[in-house]
Symmetry: C4
Subunit: 276 residues, 4 copies
């Protein structure tokens, strides 16, 4: 009897904590969203010297409040889930754990509380609130397109890395220590800063030959940005088309009806509704 009551409590907790469709589940997720954002803001503001000097106790009180609440939530999640171990070692389980541990660590290691910003990853979980809108769906289209272009992008990144290593070494030989190119790793860092068109300007070439090489690197960086852009455009446009061509007319078999079409635009036959 007690076990049954226990089970029903567990089930109720599960529906509140893990689900977002029920009213109580949604309320829980919205409160969680606000708390996560607030706790990240608190950690960020605490790092500002002038603010910490004045409001140190307020910050610490808030931090411990958030941490204790998140700890309770963590254990409730373990308690209410069917297979606790599976939750603990899932992606979100690990994020939830890493989001509370730095505060406890800060009792022993000074400064570790700044790692609390890992909490920002918890926001991913609350993306479920937006499930009613088409946010998640759009995210999936993006993810699918990016995954499809992964090998192309890896080839591209490999070429970029080689280019950066070789140009870095060349610049080290050409410019030398006087201009700030103090070592090959430093020169590779400079080559990355230049190729990606960031251009901090903390290290700049001083010799004519160095400037010529830098110019080539810049024009290359300016041009090859076109490659990943082209790759993603093509993949997104393909993902987009697949999305559209999945509907077939049962009468004339014409494909590619848009998702809000109700009749075939070729023969006028009513289309089947999309599965929901």
């Amino acid at each position: 009897m007690a076990s049954q009551r226990n089970d029903s409590l567990k089930h109720k907790l599960y529906s509140i904590i893990f689900e977002a469709e029920t009213p109580s589940g949604r309320t829980f997720d919205i409160i969680l969203l606000i708390m996560i954002v607030a706790s990240v803001v608190v950690v960020s503001l605490e790092s500002v010297v002038s603010l910490r000097r004045e409001y140190l106790h307020v910050f610490q009180a808030l931090e411990w409040t958030f941490t204790i609440l998140f700890t309770i939530e963590y254990f409730l999640r373990i308690y209410s889930s069917e297979r606790p171990l599976r939750y603990i070692f899932s992606f979100f389980g690990i994020i939830d754990f890493l989001a509370i541990i730095p505060t406890y660590m800060s009792l022993f290691v000074i400064g570790s509380q700044y790692l609390l910003v890992i909490r920002v990853f918890r926001l991913l979980r609350v993306a479920r609130i937006f499930r009613l809108t088409n946010f998640v769906n759009e995210g999936q289209v993006l993810t699918k397109a990016l995954r499809a272009s992964l090998t192309k992008i890896s080839v591209f990144l490999g070429v970029v890395l080689m280019l950066v290593v070789v140009m870095g070494a060349l610049m080290y030989v050409v410019e030398g220590r006087a201009s700030g190119f103090t070592s090959i790793p430093m020169s590779i860092y400079w080559a990355i800063v230049t190729l990606t068109t960031v251009g901090f300007g903390d290290i700049t070439p001083a010799t004519p030959l160095g400037k010529l090489l830098a110019s080539c690197l810049m024009i290359m960086g300016y041009g090859i940005i076109a490659v990943p852009t082209g790759i993603v455009s093509v993949e997104l446009s393909r993902a987009d088309k697949l999305d559209a061509t999945s509907r077939v007319c049962p009468n004339c078999h014409k494909e590619g009806h848009s998702s809000d079409a109700r009749y075939c635009d070729n023969c006028g036959f009513p289309l089947r509704r999309l599965a929901e």
Copy 2:
């Protein structure tokens, strides 16, 4: 009788001020365009110390002239419009109001006259002059494409914001105050400067680990620019296709049928053939 004459005056004013198709309406709009640009230029030049010292009185005279003229125009707009309140609280009504108020404010608050540059937004209103060309139409295609890709771009921006917060906090822990990463908000600002490939160079990493993290952030920023570009390309190409075929169903009035459609995909009614 007086009321009727009044009404006819109101109507005439309305056609001059709010419309752009009539010759007098166009002349009014072109004068307005020149005055808005001139008033923005005056405010900008006034802020240059060396010019203000010499021509202060000229600038102030011009500024008050423009403001008084714009104030008269504002009240004429209220007077001549059918539903004055609707104009006052419309987008352009608010812009028109904000464009005149700073000069009056400058009598009480020093420096507020620089907010007059809000006037530049009034130029949007004069975009109607170009209605005869296809400027407005092109602007609508762009706006439609951007609106269609809004959710995808929001997902993208959300991921960028998370990345920037986490990288900022990491850099704060790794680099510390010595290199200029004085707080987490400061480090987040640096991460934005770096990810967007702006790279001011006012803050730069000094430690090897910091440089490694910065390199990753730069390559990410260089790569993920491909995502919004791909999104907008696909949406523009889709908006482009729809635009070419503004076919309307004669039964349910649904727009945007593709050029080879023979039946309305909303109600199944046969569409008229395209003129050839």
Copy 3:
């Protein structure tokens, strides 16, 4: 008789100077190409202080040699062309004139010889050498695509300019003179540097609010680069398709055959050859 000999000389000169298909015409163009590049290099090197000190006489001798040769060429072009006035006021006629005048001007105005780099535009003329390859054709596809997207890009540039003026004025009010935002034009310059992700770092925001505004501007600049890219992609892809769809099968009327196709890929009927 003399007139006829004169005419034949004129004709011969014309075919050497203005045409590129004949062997002598091609030789002339290649020599011209080398001379133009050489003269630009000479002007550039002359501006380097250390080189000028040593080789001033060499540079001046070369410069006058090139100028006199180009002057002779200019008058030969006028002499040999059918309608001299039409050449003089054509795009290339003006460029040819501007390319020789600075050397003569340098006798009176010091420093004006640096304007000789206008000569680099003469290279456009020699693009005809490459006519045998498909360089010019590709250039035309690019130009057509860019012209088609001109109105869209104008709308985009208009929005960018407004954004930059308003953000510049806001930064001027927020940051003030202390951080280097000494006037509104200066702040607009800063806003352009930031929005285009160039980021020189000569002026950077110092206040928290200024950094927040700058962050928004950077993210906007990072995002809206997608718009012109998308526009050009769509136009290029359309220009590309038009290029392909101009061939129609005379038997089954299927369109879109590639330029090297000899038979219709739908019905196997031989296609008409492309006009050459």
Copy 4:
């Protein structure tokens, strides 16, 4: 008899060194991959002053070990290949040679060992390991698309170079030596830094006119990045379509027919239907 045993050894060596499909060949390639990466890391770390001071002997020992192993590999490659001269003067033969020579040179010329980073190009050779995945295939699609857009990109680069030379000369005349524009080549370097949106900030315009010109250059740079991006997008999308349909004509063996083609567009022969 000896010659035959020799031949079999040669054949076995060839299959280990040049092939990647056999287990021994793959093991060889993976060891090679690790050694190449390790040797590049050693050269890079050796250039760091603080590390060299302490571990000079370790670095030198490792460098000579790698060089001797690579030398042995080089001679085994010459020995085992059918036509040694063809290997020596092939792309990879030259890379392999350049990858070992700097260490021997460093006995005579100080600093030349840094050229050892050329070794990173040897990684290209080991790309064969990934042949089992679709890495190489994707690389070929990218290469094909880039080669197809080569002429378009050359036209684009030509225009960029002209722009940069003219703007550089103009800035030299406008800004002069005081702001760091010490010569035309220096100003061209600055124009490249600015147009590519790198923006080091080591040289920045100081006069109002210079800032105006710089603003134009930045907006141009921001806009024309759209051109190569559009070109690559279109070519990639075309390469992508051709790739999807590697249909070959059974009569004339022409490849690359589109998926809905029913007849070969080169000889008019009926194509086999696609397997479904």
